[in-house]
């Protein structure tokens, strides 16, 4: 019984990280048809953001509320990755709608650049850059109408970006004071969880680590939020309209460009939140995104592209399987199995071999149901 619970919990925990990582992809890939191979790097940005926020909260002034930094980190990580996503969409993806393989290659290039960027740029400067972008993008919204009306658009733009730049430089200078953020390094960094997150909670006979629990809660909130957004808000309908027929949507007066940017931004922001979860599980390095990207794509494909339910089911399914195979659960349940079976179970009872088996199983499953667990139906699928 305990065994079952432990396995179940581990599976859900693994699955929720997967789900968190795949959620953004489900939006960007499932709805927009963009293969974003830089998604892993957006996760990485979120993870690094957590590190930066944590270091800021270690400053004297903020020390008392160190315990709350993780919540701030979730928000900031969302924004950091969303901004990166926005810039990416505006500059590159925009030219490539309807050419999924092209987006795949281009975003791979972006992912290389982002990786090398975090290797070579001190986090303080990077933060400054992001602050500039944030302020610059928000400036038109932030400024009071009175001021906006008084100046010419171009002047306002230039002044706005100049202000933003000043803000960015200020941020960079301020953060350079923190020694850990002032130098570039390709080495991994470790995020320390706040005190209340360390240790575990006794749930019956099970000792549940708090960070895991936190991630599960975070995932639940994110799924509910994104479900509401896509199915209940007017933007969700617009997104679906634009992805199905761009020209007609344009003609109907839907601001397609805004919709594109918004969707991509939200998908990317979710990657940032996933980054917070990832940073709680292990050390953070430039390559951390690579560990998640293929898995996330498999989750989306397995679940059925464009189906949120599919993504949820698939990630928990994969999570459970990972635990069952990777920890050799079958042996625990049935210690007296024939030696040949036992040998097979043991052969796969490592993290990397479990991955091998699971990918192989997924590929096999897609042989039976090429469109995934929850296939889309209808005429348009064939085309």
């Amino acid at each position: 019984m305990t065994l079952l619970f432990e396995s179940l919990f581990n599976g859900v925990a693994i699955g929720s990280v997967l789900l968190m990582a795949a959620l953004g992809l489900a939006v960007v890939f499932g709805l927009m048809g963009v293969i974003n191979l830089a998604h892993g790097e957006l996760i990485m940005l979120g993870a690094y953001t957590t590190y930066v926020v944590q270091n800021i909260f270690k400053l004297e002034a903020l020390k008392p509320c160190f315990g709350a930094y993780i919540f701030v980190a979730v928000l900031v990580a969302f924004m950091v990755s969303a901004i990166a996503g926005l810039v990416l969409e505006r500059s590159v993806i925009r030219r490539l709608y309807g050419r999924p393989l092209a987006t795949l290659l281009a975003t791979w290039g972006v992912s290389l650049i982002l990786q090398q960027f975090v290797r070579t740029t001190p986090m303080a400067y990077a933060s400054g850059l992001w602050m500039t972008l944030l302020l610059g993008l928000l400036m038109p919204v932030l400024l009071p109408q009175r001021i906006r009306a008084r100046f010419r658009a171009l002047h306002l733009r230039v002044a706005g970006w100049a202000l933003a730049l000043a803000g960015g430089i200020g941020t960079a200078a301020w953060l350079s004071g923190i020694s850990r953020l002032s130098r570039a390094s390709a080495r991994n960094v470790d995020v320390t969880a706040p005190k209340w997150m360390r240790g575990g909670i006794e749930l019956g006979s099970l000792n549940v680590p708090v960070p895991r629990l936190f991630i599960i809660c975070l995932t639940v909130v994110a799924v509910i939020a994104i479900y509401w957004f896509l199915n209940r808000s007017v933007w969700g309908i617009r997104i679906r309209a634009v992805t199905q027929n761009r020209e007609i949507s344009d003609c109907l007066g839907i601001p397609t460009q805004t919709v594109d940017a918004l969707t991509f931004g939200i998908g990317s922001g979710l990657a940032g939140v996933a980054g917070v979860a990832v940073s709680l599980l292990g050390s953070v390095g430039p390559n951390v995104g690579g560990d998640y990207i293929v898995g996330s794509f498999m989750v989306v494909v397995l679940g059925g592209v464009g189906k949120l339910v599919g993504t949820v089911v698939a990630s928990f399914g994969i999570g459970l399987l990972t635990d069952v195979i990777g920890a050799g659960r079958l042996l625990e349940v049935w210690p007296s199995m024939p030696p040949t079976c036992a040998a097979v179970v043991e052969f796969f009872a490592t993290t990397s071999m479990a991955k091998v088996l699971i990918f192989a199983l997924i590929v096999a499953f897609l042989q039976l149901r090429p469109a995934g667990l929850f296939p889309r139906k209808g005429r348009m699928v064939e085309a």
Partner: protein, 386 residues
């Protein structure tokens, strides 16, 4: 255009490039320092791989992100043979390659056995990758998995192989890979200068043969059918073709080419390891073709050569810069140069570029009105071509 030239010049035009290739190939080992020769040989073997990528992606539209599997399989085949036949290498108990001793393996795993034979190895380095590619391709294509789904699945397959090879120390030395440079072949050290020269010539020969095979595949109606698959696979089916069979065949050929390239690369780089199956490397192969020019065979070869040469140059000088450049290349090629350099050249990119510097001529009317006519090309809007 050619038909206006006299017969002699046309013949010369045919023969001259080949002559040039032969002369350059013979001369290169004497002209280049051994380090550069080694690099050139390695890059040429990557050219063989690129031809395969071009075949499946450039012509047929299948973007495989798993070519590393076949590349590594070819490499492992060659390395296993060299490890087995090396008489002077140090051995562990039982006369089997040394690394087995580290993991307490006493008996040669069964699948190593046939690699004692050089003939088997010569066949295996292209046949096994081709077979694996064919099987994998058949399974995927049979279910009409296409486009990005195919790409994602091949990448997953790549990870399966990568993790498997990484985890199996007792079978193929896991992460460490198999070294070949200290083994001996025909009494010569594989890493020696003399062998390097021979390998270089062998590689040039392989590139030419591979090019010839690909050219014959893409030229006639078979090639047309491949392009038709890229255009509208379902339509092709209703015409009576079986795209599954066609795709399986080209995918297997591309796999075999990757295997040959992998074997050649391994003997010249001195080691094969699971890193050959890393995700970035397989995607890199696509950029060689993309920069050189999709659906142009020479573009693929020159793309592989050029990019890798640039990579080694930049990495020598400014190591941290290369990834930025490579990343930028991906973006620029996809957004601005979808036909690659050769395609751009063929479509008259150079005159157009020059014209831009000179300033475009002012047109009094719409160009379509003037150019329309029975033997002039129709001007089409950009959107029509897609």
């Amino acid at each position: 255009m050619d038909s206006h030239k006299p017969e002699g010049i046309r013949l010369l035009g045919r023969v001259l490039p080949w002559l040039l290739i032969v002369v350059l190939a013979i001369a290169a080992p004497y002209a280049l320092p051994s380090f550069r020769l080694n690099l050139l040989g390695r890059f040429l073997s990557l050219g063989v791989v690129a031809l395969g990528v071009d075949l499946i992606w450039g012509f047929t539209g299948l973007l495989s992100l798993g070519q590393g599997i076949f590349f590594a399989l070819g490499g492992y085949g060659a390395a296993m043979h060299l490890q087995l036949t090396c008489a002077t290498c140090s051995r562990s108990a039982g006369g089997i390659p040394e690394f087995f001793g580290l993991y307490g393996v006493k008996q040669l795993p069964f699948f190593w056995w046939p690699f004692h034979s050089p003939w088997f190895t010569l066949v295996a380095i292209w046949f096994i990758p081709g077979l694996v590619a064919g099987l994998l391709g058949y399974l995927v294509f049979r279910n009409r998995i296409r486009g990005v789904y195919f790409s994602i699945l091949t990448q997953a397959a790549l990870l399966v192989f990568y993790n498997f090879f990484n985890g199996q120390q007792k079978l193929i030395n896991g992460t460490n890979g198999l070294k070949t440079d200290v083994t001996r072949l025909f009494g010569q050290m594989v890493g020696s200068d003399i062998m390097q020269r021979n390998f270089f010539w062998l590689t040039v020969l392989c590139v030419v043969v591979a090019w010839w095979i690909c050219r014959n595949l893409v030229r006639g109606r078979f090639g047309d059918a491949l392009v038709a698959i890229r255009d509208d696979e379902a339509r092709l089916r209703f015409t009576g073709f079986n795209p599954t069979a066609l795709k399986t065949i080209v995918f297997a050929v591309a796999g075999a080419l990757a295997g040959v390239g992998g074997a050649l690369y391994t003997v010249q780089s001195g080691i094969v390891s699971p890193q050959f199956m890393s995700v970035p490397f397989s995607i890199e192969m696509v950029i060689w073709v993309a920069v050189g020019g999709r659906a142009t065979l020479l573009g693929a070869i020159f793309g592989a050569l050029g990019i890798n040469y640039a990579k080694s140059l930049v990495s020598e000088a400014l190591p941290y810069l290369w990834l930025f450049i490579q990343g930028g290349l991906f973006i620029v090629v996809v957004t601005a140069l979808p036909d690659g350099l050769v395609g751009w050249w063929k479509k008259g990119g150079v005159p157009r570029l020059l014209a831009r510097f000179r300033g475009a001529p002012r047109l009094a009317t719409y160009p379509a009105l003037e150019l329309e006519g029975p033997d002039k090309p129709r001007i089409t809007l950009k959107g029509d071509q897609q």
